[in-house]
Symmetry: C2
Subunit: 479 residues, 2 copies
């Protein structure tokens, strides 16, 4: 698949100087990546942005083409595709709307014929139609995309990164954009597979399994093309690289919507749920949840069990934590006498008999300030090896701010236990500043809702339970 993600030569059908056209954005994106070995096919023009146009792919001065991008009006797509196949292009991305949408029945019949015997007759691999192609991140915020949306810059690769296989173009527009500013996850590769004429999620999964920059693989799928193969792959890959699946098309109405949107049929959701329980695939409900789970898995260690320690500025945070712990079957280990004694040293005496996990830290904050209260209690919980996840709840006001570098250092000091940071209220400007430091700079995931934080933990537990059952972790997880 390297000819898709790092093509040495690229042919574009439909490049344009009209900045309102998708063919313009695709060309600009391609030129951002490289300026050599770019060839345009155009019926009339000789140059677009100074780049030589040819009337046909057979007029090109080269014998081999890595990648063809077709971004033409629907009626011209099939002819261009056939040319590319005859030429022997390695990879073809059809970014135009579904070719099946033509009213020309003769063409339609030919398309169905082609699809039927495709693998026997051709070596070219086709992504789409209805794909918006691929994204590949290199070093230092440089990337390559064939998106219909022009990207001037890209998010940075991080130490660990997510890759996405998706049946929506959203991943190569809004969702990639959302990581450009104040990035919460690193993104290595994205493939928008559209209607899957040829290439499907299983093809990409094999490829991403080997990608050294991919640590977590996420899917948005409306249907699964090769059920049995996909199950085998999940079984094999899940242990090495956590898999997050947003599977839409659960409802009958959705199934019909999918038929028009990508031309195929949605799978049975019960089979999908079995994937989750058997192989630890993390099922999520929407893109926001997908990124919430992703940022925890990528930027923090994966927890070894379900024991959580909670430190909250507000009693409401501790009480709600208990409720959510019950709802999601999480343990809240009692504090040891050693831990209690240490905590008492900075809590006022009247609060001593109520210190417990979850820890209501307010009285200590009043006594010794937020920095000492939060950092000391955090260290006390982490040191004894009695918890698998540390959750902080804070309110975003000036009075509770402290040196977040200390939080980062604490996180580094206990590299096996993740820290998640929950905000319960606060000034929006302060929260934004905190997020830039805590989440973006120091990679500690932040949540602006208690329920979203705990829901995310519950999703991660699907994976933790699976991995621990498989014996990868030594410590058991109660289920």
């Amino acid at each position: 698949m390297d000819y898709f993600f790092e093509p040495k030569s690229i042919v574009i059908y439909g490049a344009s100087e009209n900045t309102l056209k998708s063919g313009n954005h695709v060309l600009k994106n391609v030129l951002n990546y490289k300026r050599e070995n770019i060839y345009l096919i155009h019926p009339m023009k000789d140059y677009v942005y100074g780049i030589r146009c040819y009337r046909s792919i057979f007029d090109l001065p080269i014998q081999m083409v890595d990648l063809s991008i077709i971004i033409l009006p629907v009626e011209f797509v099939f002819a261009a595709l056939l040319d590319c196949l005859d030429f022997g292009v390695s990879g073809i991305i059809i970014e135009s709307g579904a070719i099946y949408l033509t009213n020309d029945f003769e063409t339609l019949e030919k398309i169905h014929q082609l699809k039927k015997n495709y693998k026997d007759n051709y070596k070219s691999r086709i992504m789409g139609p209805n794909s918006i192609g691929i994204y590949n991140a290199f070093e230092n915020g440089i990337g390559f995309t064939t998106s219909l949306i022009h990207f001037k810059r890209f998010p940075e690769l991080k130490e660990k990164n997510l890759s996405m296989i998706s049946q929506t173009g959203l991943t190569l527009s809004g969702l990639l954009f959302s990581q450009n500013n104040q990035q919460e996850v690193g993104i290595s590769k994205i493939a928008s597979i559209g209607n899957k004429f040829d290439i499907n999620e299983s093809d990409l999964l094999d490829y991403l399994e080997e990608d050294k920059n991919t640590n977590v693989i996420a899917f948005y799928l409306e249907d699964i093309s090769e059920g049995r193969k996909f199950v085998e792959q999940c079984k094999r890959i899940s242990k090495k690289k956590p898999l997050i699946l947003l599977k839409s098309g659960i409802s009958n109405k959705a199934k019909k919507a999918i038929i028009s949107h990508t031309g195929s049929i949605a799978g049975n959701y019960k089979n999908i749920q079995a994937l989750s329980t058997q192989f630890g695939i993390i099922l999520v409900e929407d893109f926001a949840e997908l990124f919430n789970v992703g940022k925890c898995l990528l930027n923090q260690p994966i927890p070894k069990g379900n024991r959580i320690g909670v430190i909250s500025i507000s009693g409401a945070g501790t009480v709600l934590s208990c409720d959510f712990a019950m709802k999601y079957n999480l343990e809240l280990p009692k504090l040891s006498s050693v831990q209690l004694d240490k905590l008492k040293s900075f809590f006022p005496e009247f609060a001593w008999k109520d210190i417990n996990n979850p820890i209501d830290i307010w009285s200590a904050v009043e006594k010794v300030g937020p920095e000492k209260a939060y950092m000391k209690s955090g260290e006390i919980l982490l040191k004894e090896n009695t918890i698998d996840i540390l959750v902080y709840f804070l309110t975003g006001i000036k009075e509770t701010e402290f040196d977040w570098r200390l939080l980062y250092e604490l996180n580094q000091q206990y590299p096996e236990i993740p820290i998640y940071f929950g905000l319960i209220g606060g000034d929006k400007k302060i929260l934004r500043t905190w997020r830039k430091i805590i989440e973006v700079r120091y990679n500690i995931p932040m949540f602006f809702s208690i329920s979203n934080l705990f829901k995310t933990i519950s999703k991660i537990m699907i994976y933790v339970n699976y991995v621990s059952k498989e014996g990868t972790f030594l410590r058991g997880v109660t289920s």
Copy 2:
């Protein structure tokens, strides 16, 4: 209760010039509200910030006191309280930690004795202990609070406003702060009732029922003091003013945590759920959800039924909408032939046969631009009176931006149908700018997650179903 919310005279126990002390913040908040008729009780000092201190409340030059605020170390609280009772202060707020936490058994016995026969012996009303008091918004961002956190300014009252009755101080710190910048809801009054020695949620509920600036009432409750009375009140008030309840303490562990946090016992959650089904009380899981529901109820008309129209920039948005509609029992009415014909006028022909509700708007955006595509399709859905809620899904990128004023005008033009705005991905800076205009200026609620948007709709449906069953709405709701 006016002596709490608009006191003419105020006595403070524990005022301080030390800016690290809570007594300092309380005093500053009080002085923001008024400078006349403020009296301080202090054992040693003669003046604090130039305000005269008295040794005892009996030394005051006045005969009546509307409000006493006690913000003293635990060991001094009981004596101050007794003085206030003997003096005959109308309202007393105990902002200090639970008075029960004393180790002096003799005092503890006296406190229990006092509580037992309280209502027979005294007319003073007590809020707390463990309260942080009240908030009352006047016009133009001016307000009065007794919070432990110093507020320099307050959110503006809006046309419709939320009031809160809460067992956490969070409502008078972080949650009130969060509405200060980029306000999404108006807030009229807040009462932090703490351990409920005397005043409980039912007392406040009677008061807020009559408050002309209160349109929605929200609770954070860990226990309900007078179950039967509360049920009767909900029954009476819910139809006039929607009630949102965040009830924590569902788990046994949470119940124990509550005992230490506020000193009382959590109720049976099944009774709480019955409140919801019988009287349309909207149960929420956390504060973020509470405000999501609140902003929809306050800033948009309350929907008349469960029929939603969805217009989405992405096919993924339409497919997921179908899934959520099924999950939450929402109707997605089919388009009429009139609506279809109108839509066809700005959709490319190849997309005609797939136009449906939810509407995948992308091909129309490509053809006629986002403004025309979004505004026209919105109007077509609204005009025919076939939907009860209009949902827009957009991606926050430059290319999809249009004149949001048109959206506001469309919203005004159909004043019975709410519009909710969902974002699926996008550049964070762009999303922030949009939010300031769409949500803050034009009062159209925004959601950054598809699942949170639909979950919020599902919560609102609890109320809609209740009201329609009661015959308030003419149009029926399928359930």
